[in-house]
Amino acid sequence: MDDAARAELTAALHRIAGGDRAALKFLYERTGAKLFGLCQRILGESAAAEDALQEVFLIIWHKAGQFDASHGSSPITWLAAIARNRALDYLRAGKRRFEDIDAAAEILDTRPGAEAMLETVERDQRLAACLNGLEPRAQNAIRAAFFGGQTYDSLARQAGTKLATMKSLIRRGLLQLRACLSHG
């Protein structure tokens, strides 16, 4: 996301905090498809994904005032975190059946090409490059946790490894990610 788009979304969030419904509509038009894609990634193409998206925007309507751009927060990161949390809540509440093995295998797939959809900010590109630099098993496990709301237990079971192995795989991956980012 470029700086102009970021400023536009930040301004919209401020107006929403003041009760501006047109600003919510604007935000929905700009980010609804992105956030719906995220809800669907977590919940599948289901009524639950629609319900989650609806609730996401009602949460935004009530909590826009809590967004704080002064610490360099990105509005889209803030919005995506709300959408991911809400969709995972739905997933955990069993509003969608838990991943069967085939669907889980799909989640464990790497998704080449998807990264091409990244926004063009340098920071985001670096993050993506660092993620892609992780060993595939670690990258897959991190993705499965991020999108699947899974536990260490279920990740280990699916990958056919021991719990301790899964923990160290993910911890190593996160450390590697951090190191990669700080060396930019």
Binding site: F36, L53, D124, I142, R178
Partner: protein
């Protein structure tokens, strides 16, 4: 602090989670990891949501008639034809009368009033619960509950006046925006039977 990264991934539980949360540096570390990992969300292709999603959001955030106890006058106007509106100059509709008080197990209280055309539910003591909506239902004898709308701490809710005996008003706690099912999904926390309408 790699624990914060595990937390953002939703992998921390039990003792590990308690230990992490006891650390004063934890919240800041979570924020940093949130920024790092949320780039994963950016890798998801967008999908256009169906139009009904915005329609529901829009309906939920629409401003309601905000002036308590003057709602009856407006609702009278809304339903009236031009001729009737003219006659309003001569004879305004009778003011609404109190017919019931609806209280809940959460110690909320609502005045229920009826006018010639409207049923008006006004919050006396009520705060919108965090992360929930309070939804009002009308239940006729032997029928499924009918949603009347979401209760708002700052505005009266006016609906078309129902008719009948044994009508019950009920309040349930629902996800934000109200029950997605058209029927109560959360606990019913209060109800009152109305006198014959």
């Amino acid at each position: 602090m790699v624990l914060a990264g595990e937390f953002v991934l939703g992998l921390l539980a039990g003792e590990e989670l308690a230990r992490a949360e006891a650390d004063a540096r934890f919240p800041a570390a979570v924020k940093v990891w949130q920024d790092r990992l949320m780039v994963l969300a950016e890798t998801v292709p967008p999908a256009t949501p169906p139009a009904r999603v915005w329609a529901k959001i829009s309906a939920t955030i629409s401003p309601r008639l905000a002036v308590r106890r003057r709602v009856w006058w407006l609702s009278g106007l809304a339903g009236a034809a031009i001729a009737a509106a003219v006659s309003l100059w001569l004879t305004q509709p009778a003011p609404p009368r109190d017919i019931a008080t609806l209280t809940t197990t959460t110690a909320w209280r609502f005045d229920v009033q009826v006018s010639a055309t409207a049923l008006i539910i006004s919050p006396e003591i009520f705060s919108v619960p965090a992360g929930k909506s309070a939804e009002l239902w009308l239940i006729a004898p032997h029928q499924a509950p009918k949603p009347l709308g979401l209760l708002d701490a700052h505005a009266a809710l006016a609906v078309a006046r129902p008719h009948g005996t044994g009508l019950v008003l009920a309040v349930s706690l629902e996800p934000p925006g109200g029950s997605p099912a058209g029927l109560p999904t959360g606990p019913v926390i209060g109800e009152v039977m109305l006198t014959k309408l």
